[in-house]
Point group: C2
Chain length 420, copies 2
């Protein structure tokens, strides 16, 4: 089955907006076991759009068109779709009602030109948009089925995932339920992940695809499955899910839509606990990620950032001169920090060099200490790479050491990113 | 003149990699006064690539092809370009020599399959790649001139800017020197910027285009010019540059490749001065941006982040109970912070609510205080919007107030983003 993606709009064509919509749609289609055969970008221009519809209608089986469904004169998708299919535009009464009540509920009157968003090609299949004013629709042009979707990323994502892909799957004769199971890990490189999962192919039927996506320092491992029903998917996926959990073990940070920092904050919220942080060359990223995930603002009590050890000591009233950058200093700071801030945990991450802000490679030592009222956990590592790389790696390592501490797991399992 | 961009590669087609290369090329072309007429994405697949070459050769005058110049079997650009032009592949001796010495200088022997990167279509125009192993080339296919560029973004950017666009400009009969003058401002919305520059069109000849790009909270104002020589461009641009500097005045943060935080750090470095920061709901972003720009790590001495006022007070040994969130508290904290950290400046930003981490709109009060050994500067504002929006706005406002203080400018000029 040949599937094309056609993104429309001057903003995309001229590069003012980066085309993340193509990436999202292509990725979801690929994960659903469908193959994208071509992508096209054209501007808000009658001749280009009509020609693009014409070409796609001759060579593809399914075309997802994105954008051009708005209320203004440069939004041309409905009109040119109708022309290409040789039908007229008709008012879709229920959508007009929905638009009017959308405006009424906000205490406004619908502008006249929004009527345009309820004018659809005669005989098309209506596709609902529960979170916006641009509805989608599907119709046949030439030998292809065209699916029209809004350009607003949030609206497009939901419509493509919930409504367009199931329709294309049905059209393709494939099974119609899809699932994407994701594992987020830190410390396992892509090639070792591949080795660790040796034999997994025996557990994967044709309908399940394994994929890796590395966004340093995390690795995402994905199982994309299609099937007839959710219960069938549960059964099909279980053996591979079990194997991944068993082989990646403590390196799995979280699954699906969870994040590392979200997992930490949820654990602390559940146990009514608090944390303070102190960091050198991770530039405040440890604090930043925890604070951003701290939705009620009552878990992360304090964060101190400085490249200067005596400043860190001064912030927790620790008298100290010429402190070395080592594990003992990290521990001492963590204990002082915990007492000074009266928190349950204190996380300290020190680094043995100043930030360089360039890409020159250097070896950097990281010292992490996590203090609680029960014990002191420490971890050290040597990371190599430029400043940006080390900042990313050391932030992840400190947060992961904290997660492991909270979950009662060993913190000293070596990662693939550090010198042995 | 019809220009097309053709991006190749399975990673782009399937959405694993976001197509930032299209955006970059389209933006540079637009800024050079050229118009992009269509974008296409195809995978590493003979039939699709050949068909894409064929179609583009029939309708375009110039085509930039990106990717497919690597050494592996799925890199097909040279081979299919030669086939489409009806010529054979020939060894480009100078490039082979360059490849060999590239490997020799790294103490390695060139792998056999890299020879492929020196096999170019007979009669093509060679395009140098000073920073990689994939050279570019240009040749005619059908009625269009095709420009082949490497997929590695860094290499593509340099080749497109320095070599491809000048060639397309020459092909188009347009002048051949281009310049992009940029102004970064905070506090002026796009529509007011437009009003402020009323009359600028009289200062802009046909060869200069004015454009705005809003990335909240900053606005970028661009003058894209083409001309015969750099001295001609200097003269052509000067009146418009003067007008923008005069009308935007103190709202201009910096120009061209400079950043707000870079401007601040450079000022402090030049004057041998230091700073400490303290912030609540900006989640550590003030500190993060300054530290990241602090290339030698000796300007930003300390940053404290907390949603909890008594934690902030404790970090600077300030005895205080039940502090209100107001301008006096911000000033008191700033003065204590400056003394405690022994810095030249202390920047404090307080916010009157806890982070909500959702998109519900609310009005938020921001209190900024900047202490130095000369005086205390304060600024307050009411921002409305969701948590993320307010975090961005308050970070920018604090950094901008600090820049204004350093540059001896008034800090209380109202922005378009705050309630009056």
């Amino acid at each position: 089955m040949k599937i094309e993606i056609l993104c429309t709009g001057d903003e995309i064509l001229t590069g003012k907006t980066i085309n993340t919509n193509h990436s999202f749609m292509a990725q979801r289609l690929t994960e659903a076991g469908l193959q994208v055969y071509r992508g096209t970008i054209v501007g808000d221009d009658r001749a280009s759009l009509s020609q693009a519809f014409q070409l796609a209608s001759e060579r593809a089986d399914a075309v997802i068109v994105n954008g051009g469904l708005g209320p203004t004169v440069d939004d041309l998708s409905q009109e040119l779709a109708a022309a290409a299919a040789g039908v007229s535009l008709e008012l879709h009464e229920p959508w007009l009602e929905k638009l009017k009540s959308f405006y009424t509920s906000r205490g406004r009157v619908m502008p006249e030109n929004n009527i345009k968003q309820a004018m659809l090609p005669a005989g098309c299949e209506f596709i609902d948009n529960p979170i916006g004013t641009a509805c989608g629709f599907a119709l046949n042009i030439g030998k292809a089925r065209f699916y029209f979707t809004p350009g607003v990323p949030r609206e497009m994502r939901r419509m493509v995932t919930e409504q367009v892909i199931p329709r294309i799957l049905k059209q393709s004769g494939l099974e119609v339920v899809t699932r994407l199971k994701r594992f987020h890990s830190f410390g396992i490189g892509e090639s070792r992940a591949d080795e660790l999962l040796a034999g997994i192919e025996d557990l994967l039927p044709e309908t399940v695809k394994l994929g890796f996506q590395s966004h340093y320092p995390q690795l995402e491992t994905k199982l994309a499955a299609i099937g007839k029903s959710d219960s069938e998917l549960d059964a099909t996926l279980q053996p591979a899910v079990n194997m991944i959990r068993e082989r990646f073990a403590n390196f799995i940070l979280c699954e699906d839509d969870e994040t590392l920092e979200g997992t930490i904050i949820r654990h602390l919220q559940t146990h009514n606990q608090t944390v303070a942080t102190m960091e050198t060359a991770s530039a405040g990223n440890i604090c930043n990620r925890l604070v951003t995930a701290d939705s009620h603002g009552d878990v992360v009590l304090s964060g101190v950032v400085s490249c200067n050890l005596s400043q860190l000591a001064a912030a927790v009233n620790m008298t100290a001169q010429d402190l070395p950058v080592d594990s003992d200093t990290a521990s001492a700071l963590a204990e002082h920090l915990r007492q000074h801030t009266k928190t349950d945990y204190a996380v300290v991450s020190l680094i043995d060099q100043k930030p360089l802000n360039d890409d020159s490679r250097a070896e950097t030592k990281i010292f992490i200490a996590i203090a609680s009222n029960r014990n002191m956990v420490t971890r050290q590592a040597r990371l190599s790479g430029g400043t940006h790389w080390v900042t990313l790696g050391s932030t992840e390592m400190a947060l992961d050491a904290f997660r492991r501490t909270l979950q009662g797991l060993p913190v000293d399992e070596k990662t693939d990113f550090e010198q042995q």
